[in-house]
Amino acid sequence: MRIEVEVDKRLGAFRVAARFASDAGVTALFGRSGSGKTTLLNLIAGLARPDRGRISVDGTAFFDSVRGVDIPAHRRRIGYVFQEGRLLPHLTVRQNLLYGRFFTPEAERYESLERVLALLDIGHLLERRPHRLSGGEKQRVAIGRALLASPRILLLDEPLAALDSARKSEILYYIERLRDEVRIPIVYVSHALEEVVRLADTLVLVSAGEVTEVGPVAELAARLDLRPQLGRFEGGAVLDARVAEQDLASGLARLEFAGGTLYAPDVDALVGERLRVRIRARDVSLALTPPRDASFLNVISGTVSAIGDEPGASVDVRLDVAGTPLVARITRKSVGALGLAPGRPVYALVKAVAIDRHSVGYA
């Protein structure tokens, strides 16, 4: 499942010079709009040709300027999902799906229609025409079509960008399922941290055509120096947790993670399921002593490990909670008032309500 990319391409005034390797299931290319991540994806797909470099997927060289290898896009056996699921309007969903495997020789087909229908829950849409599908359903069919080609690698270019918030969650769920069921590398391009944090194993940060960081999501998410790139508003630590209990009366789930216990409302998971939880830094408050008579359900004990140094009224504070990092964003004034410094024991206060469905994903 290894992807190796090292490419150089000039597009007018814009230059893409990227280098990364990933062994993971889902590799996310994350960056702002215009950062070059879609160009990078197109280079992997073969829809654009690098000026020089090397691209290899699972040991197969797609492009190698030194050895003169350049497999054309239509022969790379890629599955590409675009932002807008462009299906053939005059054909049914079934016919659209079958076009996916039309070009794959029988011997190389590992994917079956039944499995794709089950994975994406589109069995009931088979005889419909695209104009009678919702945006989310269209994208699921587009993903299904890409999968049915039995591709070597799945490439998704901001597949949720054209959907509204409710549809986004719906598709995210299916892509999570994909990640767990499908045995090929997946490269996911997005500028939305929420998606990336839920789906990706490896994060590749792209900025101005260059790869600035590569690493596991949980590790990069908690790094203070990367907070500007990841986005301060949505950013925060990513934890692995397990559902220990579901209390039907209160609607709260009790989640256990390495550093302690978290309560979260309306978590749609069964007891024992593993989840990936993102705690937004802006939802974390700090206290020297556990508060009394306060509404915070999540009071986690930890130690200050680092304090950010960016200018402004707010600052990031990184905590170590029994080995797991957590990030809190508070005012510089409070840092001074509480006398926070590395090594200082402190309590992180997280509103249960802040751990909403946008923050919880299946591991």
């Binding site: 896009a73 239509h74 022969r75 675009f82 053939l88 076009y99 794959t104």
Partner: protein
Amino acid sequence: MKTHAAAYALAAVVLAALVLLALALGRYPVSVVQLATLALDKLGGTRPLAPMIATVVLDIRGPRVLSAVLVGASLAAAGTAFQGMFRNPLVSPDILGVSSGAALGAVLAIFLSLGAVAVQAFAFAGGLAAVVLVYLIGSRLRGHDPLLALVLTGVLIGTLLGSAIALLTYLADPSNQLPAITFWLLGSLASIAPRDLAIAAPLALLGLVPMLLLRWRMNLLALPDDEARALGVDTRRLRAVVVAAATLMTAASVAIGGIIGWVGLLVPHAARLVVGPDFGRLLPLAMLIGAAFLLAVDTLCRTVAPIEVPPGVLTAFIGTPFFLWLFAASRRSW
């Protein structure tokens, strides 16, 4: 779908009826009974027939009917293929210059006072050469949408060839050559000999075969280039094959029949209004309608007035109301 089967059946029946009608009508009327008798006679019967009927039907009208069917079906097929490939409903088979090239070839042959066979050969070669030129230039223009590059190059080369035709027309001998040039440019199925058909038909068929074999892939050309390539379509090669196939069919038609417009542009639309844009369904119906339409027009051309009317004059007269009616009566659109 049931309605589609009905459409094909109807078109086929109409075509068959028109063939019978075309064989029967003319200055020397032949009844259907006589046609049937002739058919039986030819198939091994022993009843002799007035040789006049055999001559009229088999040597005069027969080839003409076959030409109309061939040319109508070929132009419709080429138009369908191009409209699918260029994703544009305003495209006709002439878009890449095949008609201009064929016209230049024919006019040149007439100008050089070469025989009828040479005129057809030059027309065919001219049509192919023009498209080869357009394709070579158009596909070398990187940095632009490949389809746009092709279309613009086609239009430019077409107008260039048009000026060459104008020049030759101007220089032509007004008493001998000019009438021949004008007549050729107006198009006519009148003087097509069986020998001409024997050459044109296989060429047109040669163009048809790849279109039939690639009919599933043709649908994928409706997707943007990137998406088609991601799905596994070699779009460059597919486009080249479609251009070659459609050009072969059109050049063969123009070489024997001259310039006949309208059919290649509007018959595909008519067929699409009935069966939708799925190429596999669209192509056969478009060919049936094209054949029937041109046959109807050509029959009128030779029966409506004492002298022959060029088909180019009547195609629009008859086609336009028919198409408007069809368009108004249907709900779907491209």
